[in-house]
């Protein structure tokens, strides 16, 4: 194999290189390596220069001390609530109220929630006896939120001590900011190969990826696991719509109102990710369908010319649709090309692709280390040893799941049958679509 690679490269010309590896050089490298690299390498020093602005924002925040409502909807999440409550109690910003909504759990969540409320470790525990789905649970919490700002968290998450303070600062630096996405890091890094792969993926796609999108003004999602909003905006929108993909949906709606949405990489939240590939595939199948359901169907107006057309909103959606959906078709073409035109070199092309994408991942990881610096834990750095596996994880496994999800959603609107929502909610949503 080694000799074949040597022979292959000895006969390689620029044209041949592009012909064999055009997806990498023309698309992925340009978008995720060159563009991300340029943006981050300008962002990092600029962020340092903005120290004074952050300091002034912090001063304003602590001078005003607005009430901040932490909303935590969930089902059967009782086992995580104690740790979450402890991480809220340890926050540097203290004027918070925590509202936990139990969406019809059938375990001991109500017992734990009520105990935490009695012990004053949370402000309000609401149990919805009839399960209504994540959006209805989040909206229940929003109904009783009193804070100027609302932070939405997943129950299986916990926060870095300064997370709330840090995620609020952008609101005091720019009044046009309507929502701020917090950074999400993996809590259960070393549990399994699946969690290790996701750790690298989260560092790439959330910590650096969303920072870049935010800098370009095309951030398209504020994660439900860690996102801050002005409450008045959420009230204007009457909260979240039926999911799955409700966090991406509300981000688009906030953008449509003309507010900026940004990512704050130093407001850190740790979350537990699926620890088996089976669970991971099921999660991604749910997430990926939302691209078709929300961006292609519900919010297709963003992509079309209209009076309310906004280039940034267009790019935010188009970037997602192009690189995830349309470029999935590119891979089909590429696979056909390799199978039919370069069959003799198929092994070499595969290995070289792995090397190229592997090197790209190393570069992206280095960018992340440069950006996140001391906020990265030792176990986050050690995870670099698993980087060679990432091309297979993202390039093959996740791509397959994504492709299947798109097909199912396009053909069968399968997201409306997802058990993630109660069947009666899914049924109504589908008929109203």
């Amino acid at each position: 194999m080694f000799n074949s690679i040597i022979d292959f490269f000895e006969t390689l010309t620029v044209m041949k290189l592009l012909a064999y590896f055009w997806p990498f050089f023309l698309l992925d490298m340009t978008r995720y390596l060159v563009l991300d690299g340029i943006v981050l390498l300008t962002y990092i020093p600029r962020r340092r220069r903005k120290k004074k602005e952050y300091k002034a924002a912090r001063k304003m925040l602590f001078h005003e001390r607005p009430l901040v409502s932490i909303l935590v909807p969930g089902k059967n999440e009782g086992k995580h609530l104690q740790k979450l409550a402890e991480s809220l109690a340890a926050q540097t910003y203290r004027n918070i109220e925590s509202i936990i909504v139990d969406d019809g759990s059938d375990d001991n969540t109500p017992f734990i929630g009520r105990r935490l409320q009695r012990e004053n470790k949370i402000s309000l525990f609401i149990r919805n006896e009839i399960r209504g789905g994540k959006a209805s649970a989040a909206n229940t919490a929003l109904r009783y939120a009193r804070g100027k700002f609302v932070i939405h968290l997943d129950a299986d998450s916990h926060l870095e001590k300064n997370a709330i303070e840090t995620i609020l600062l952008p609101f005091y630096m720019d009044p046009e900011i309507g929502a701020v996405g917090g950074d999400i890091r993996v809590a259960n890094v070393d549990t399994s190969l699946a969690t290790r792969c996701q750790t690298i993926e989260y560092i790439k796609s959330i910590s650096t990826g969303r920072t870049v999108s935010s800098e370009l003004g095309i951030l398209r999602i504020i994660a439900g696991a860690h996102g801050a909003f002005r409450r008045e905006i959420l009230n204007r929108l009457h909260g979240w719509d039926v999911g799955p993909g409700l966090d991406g949906d509300i981000t688009v709606k906030i953008r449509k109102l003309g507010f900026k949405v940004i990512h704050e990489p130093f407001a850190i939240c740790y979350t537990n990710v699926p620890d088996t590939f089976r669970k991971l595939i099921r999660q991604r199948f749910r997430w990926d369908r939302s691209l078709v359901r929300f961006r292609v169907r519900k919010h297709k107006d963003i992509l079309l010319p209209s009076k309310a057309f906004s280039i940034k909103n267009f790019l935010a959606s188009a970037d997602n649709v192009f690189f995830n959906l349309i470029m999935d078709g590119k891979w089909c073409l590429y696979v056909i090309q390799i199978l039919f035109f370069t069959r003799s070199d198929i092994g070499v092309v595969f290995v070289v692709n792995m090397i190229l994408y592997g090197l790209a991942n190393i570069f992206e990881f280095l960018l992340a280390v440069t950006l996140l610096g001391k906020t990265m834990r030792k176990k986050d750095l050690k995870i670099a040893l698993w980087l060679p596996l990432i091309p297979i994880y993202t390039g093959m496994l996740l791509r397959l799941v994504r492709t299947f999800a798109y097909i199912m959603e396009f053909l069968f609107k399968s997201s409306f049958f997802d058990r993630w929502n109660p069947w009666k909610v899914s049924k109504i949503s589908k008929t109203q679509e």
Binding site: I126, E129, G133, A135, H238, G239, D241
Partner: protein, 469 residues
């Protein structure tokens, strides 16, 4: 055949011409063995009820156990009063002789059982617990509770009530005590929440705000509109008679189809707190105290019937609970044995004249009160009382109990001054236990007699009772 006796009283209609009559105060003077029942006229039911209470308060078993028939009963007599008698002859009955004979034969079983009972003491049955046991025994039937708002327990045993000196004085406790002693057995009827402070069963349960304890609360149902995932209180949705979603303006049509009621929220009108878990409190209609429900006392109400053990005790007498405990803990000896020890000690002192011993007579007036107010918990108090005796009595002293509340101690080799010191200490500890710790009103009467020529135990006790009782 036994004959009925009509209880005559002023202002009451005359007895049927062929029936014997007696005044309520004269019952002891008639031949009770020949009486089948007492007939009480209930034209004025309050007078009639006071008469049955008078009969049941007697200490003579041949009087207080005798069946009682109410006659001339009108519709306005309260149910719990009506059931106090063994039988009722309603207004309108004209053939009294036939009715009286019927009732006499029906009461014959009861009267036979009464005849089989012997008087345990010369003075009759003074212990109320024993009277209740004998009453249950002679009736031979189950004693059913009746719901009543007239009694703070919420339930009464109508036929047992007249045995007690005052209403609300320990009928339930006495029955529970007898049940604990396996003398009667209970069959579950109902479970009550009773006030932990006063025992009243009339409690108001209400919800309060966990923050400010106000009971001024408002509840709102949470409505979940499926289509748009909006959740809000029902008042957010109300537009006239319709429910309209404030988020998507759709009219809500069918619960379970396009919307449901996810849960209920409480609003405190006093402090504006919003919550789902109100704190439930109770307030007592009798003592007005507010108490969390979990601190209230749960009490089972039962229908009682006598056991074989109870039948035996009713016929031959029952040991008092206190005596049993004292016998176990302080080695109290029977009074007859005590008398022998008394004679021996007196002879020894008089013969050798080298040392002194003393007889201590002590009376507690709270024993019956403890029984009637504490019921089951009497055992705990008596155990503590016995511990107090045990701490103050030496193993060489001789101890006995007479009639439940007279305590006799021979303090051997103890001069009168030392005996007084010992009795003072004992009295203080008893008062401290009952008055201070348990809040039971109690007084202690005592006498110390040095062993000397002419000291007679029976006389000393008689003299003591005359002086203090």
């Amino acid at each position: 055949m036994r004959e009925p006796i009509c209880i005559s009283s002023q202002g009451m209609p005359a007895c049927p011409s062929n029936a014997s009559a007696a005044g309520i105060e004269d019952l002891e003077s008639i031949e009770l063995g020949a009486v089948s029942f007492f007939a009480i006229d209930m034209t004025d039911w309050q007078v009639g009820y006071s008469q049955i209470r008078h009969i049941r308060s007697s200490q003579l078993s041949s009087i207080y156990l005798k069946p009682v028939l109410f006659q001339g009963v009108s519709d306005n007599v309260p149910r719990e009063i009506l059931y106090a008698a063994d039988g009722i002859l309603k207004t309108g009955e004209t053939d009294f002789t036939r009715e009286y004979n019927n009732w006499s034969s029906r009461f014959e079983d009861i009267n036979s059982r009464i005849d089989s009972l012997k008087e345990i003491t010369e003075k009759g049955d003074s212990n109320i617990t024993f009277k209740v046991l004998r009453f249950i025994y002679t009736r031979g039937s189950a004693f059913k509770p009746v719901q009543s708002s007239k009694n703070i327990n919420g339930y009464i045993y109508p036929s047992l009530e007249p045995l007690f000196p005052k209403p609300d004085t320990g009928v339930l406790e006495t029955l529970e005590y007898l049940s604990d002693q396996k003398l009667i057995s209970g069959e579950y009827v109902s479970r009550l929440h009773n006030c932990t402070h006063c025992g009243c069963a009339f409690l108001n349960f209400y919800e309060t705000c966990p923050d400010c304890s106000s009971s001024d609360l408002r509840t709102e149902e949470l409505i979940h509109h499926f289509k748009c995932a909006n959740i809000g209180e029902i008042s957010d949705y109300k537009k006239g008679d319709a429910l309209v979603c404030p988020k998507c303006d759709k009219v809500l049509r069918h619960i379970g189809v396009d919307y449901d009621k996810a849960s209920i929220m409480y609003h405190c009108n006093n402090c504006q707190n919003v919550f789902q878990d109100p704190v439930v409190m109770t307030s007592c209609y009798n003592c007005w105290r507010q108490t969390p429900p979990e601190n209230q006392v749960m009490r089972d109400i039962s229908t009682y019937t006598i056991t074989a053990l109870g039948q035996n005790a009713a016929q031959h007498g029952m040991d008092s609970l206190l005596e049993v405990i004292l016998e176990k803990k302080v080695h109290a000896i029977p009074f007859n044995v005590f008398k022998t020890f008394f004679s021996l000690e007196l002879s020894r002192i008089l013969r050798y004249k080298v040392s002194e011993s003393c007889l201590v007579i002590l009376r507690l007036d709270a024993i019956n009160k403890i029984y009637s107010t504490l019921g089951k918990r009497s055992t705990e108090v008596f155990n503590e009382l016995s511990d107090t005796f045990k701490e103050n009595i030496r193993t060489s002293d001789i101890f006995s109990v007479k009639d439940e509340n007279i305590f006799l101690i021979i303090l051997t080799e103890t001069p009168p001054d030392n005996a007084k010191i010992a009795v003072d200490r004992l009295e203080n500890q008893i008062l401290s236990l009952l008055n201070s710790n348990l809040k039971i009103d109690c007084s202690v009467a005592r006498q110390v007699h040095p062993f000397a020529k002419g000291l007679d135990l029976e006389e000393a006790i008689e003299h003591f009772l005359k002086s203090y009782v």
